[in-house]
Symmetry: C2
Subunit: 311 residues, 2 copies
Amino acid sequence: MEKIIGIDIGGTKINFACVQRENIISEVISCKTPDTAEEILNSLCRGIFDLIEKYDAKGIGIATAGTVDLENSKVTGSTGNLPKGYEKLELKKVFTENFKLPVLIENDANAAAFAEFKAGNAKGHLNTLTVTLGTGIGGGIIVDGKLLKGKTGAAAEVGHIPMTYEKLRKCSCGSWDCWEAYASGTGYAINAKEIAQKIPPEKRQGILKNKVISELTTYDVIEGLKNNDFFSIKVHDVWEEYLSMGFASLINIFEPESIVLSGGMAKAVNYEALNSKIKERIVIAETKLIPAQFENNAGIIGAALLLLEKL
Amino acid sequence: MEKIIGIDIGGTKINFACVQRENIISEVISCKTPDTAEEILNSLCRGIFDLIEKYDAKGIGIATAGTVDLENSKVTGSTGNLPKGYEKLELKKVFTENFKLPVLIENDANAAAFAEFKAGNAKGHLNTLTVTLGTGIGGGIIVDGKLLKGKTGAAAEVGHIPMTYEKLRKCSCGSWDCWEAYASGTGYAINAKEIAQKIPPEKRQGILKNKVISELTTYDVIEGLKNNDFFSIKVHDVWEEYLSMGFASLINIFEPESIVLSGGMAKAVNYEALNSKIKERIVIAETKLIPAQFENNAGIIGAALLLLEKL
């Protein structure tokens, strides 16, 4: 099977590796994401050149933050914390010309979902979603064995399902009360602060004792769970209820064979408790929630597998 | 182009017609849905026999309430107000044997979405949804030109997106606070009653004057709109806000080219007001909401077109 260079471009770092089938056969080389679009292009070219030389790779698969066009050739927008001008880079064109190799670019959440579907814990599930619970909530959706891309490639924004009628909490996207605003790691901390504020200072016990509420973090609460802290249990339960709302929507809409949970906050999920909350909110048969297999390397592997499929 | 018998089986009536391309070329024959599964089968056989004789039709396409299996051969559940035992009928098997013609069965909301995509107001939109706003909320979803069916055929339950964290209103599905419980025709009337109850009796004006709140109907409010009744405008605005929540979810998830609105309540939609509410809640480019072309005959036409595609 051909060797492919897999690359994952995020807002804080860029990772490179050589992939064969679903296996990373090189070390994973990581560099801080440069501050300008031009430097990103230079870093990518150097990284690709080194790996091609060393492994005789036959293609380049790139997972990136942002929306990617339907032709898998370039980023078109929503690049968040990547530098200005990044969405103007003609990545496929430049790399094809420079390296004379096939190139494929895909959104990182989509690539991760494809990796889980093709070779991970959702292997063989023709209808499956991978939801990343981190600072935000991202998603990739497989329908009938293919990525759901939408009209221009911007589909699968599962983090932006509205949670309430009243406009109570602004989301990072500029809209109101998205799933991400309540059920991401960021949302978790806001939930915790809101719940804590409602407890009169003299009644604050456990992790809240002598705590400045505005300094309360998601980490504090997750730690509190280990000691059965009453407040932490409450906050966690509220979070799982919000999680259940979004997952119920996705299950009722897609009737998937599985939903794969990925990202830092996925590790805090009590699958049994969450599944039982979801069960109360769905109108169709139960869907398994399962942990991701690939986690940090999912983008690299998914992009490589997507390219392999096209070769 | 071949002639196809199109049939739509609902809880209150069964409609039959002969379809050529997307056109109904016969009268639409309608009968009350019988009370037992056996009588339904007999009615269907008689109706089909008559139409085949008269039009020399080359196939049978059936749209039905309930979930239909992936092979388009029989109903498997969720038949709501159809008689007990209906889901045990081997419709495709029976009709294939009796009439020696190809038979296809599809869920009615799916068939309607296919009709709009293939020949209606969403013609050529490879990613489009048709949402039926009636007593409940139903949906059919086209992804890359194909119906989204899910693991067993039960997907596209778009009426059951949760609207709120608190469990405030029971949905007909047994779950809590589904979109359908707030934004269907039934939900509209409940919203109206709840809003009215909060107004002190001595302050009730317009359509509320001397009205028994428990007798308030969706029809009353829609009528009130024509006279710019203040209470009616408020209820309608609340409804469109709830509508916008569900549509924003669907747009953020699917990035479709269009969403087609069908059903009795679709006629009450102010597209401009609704689109502007949705715009506030989406993170991707705007999606056109458009009225349906086929309405009552969408199931008949969609089932016929689905069969034609397979011939």
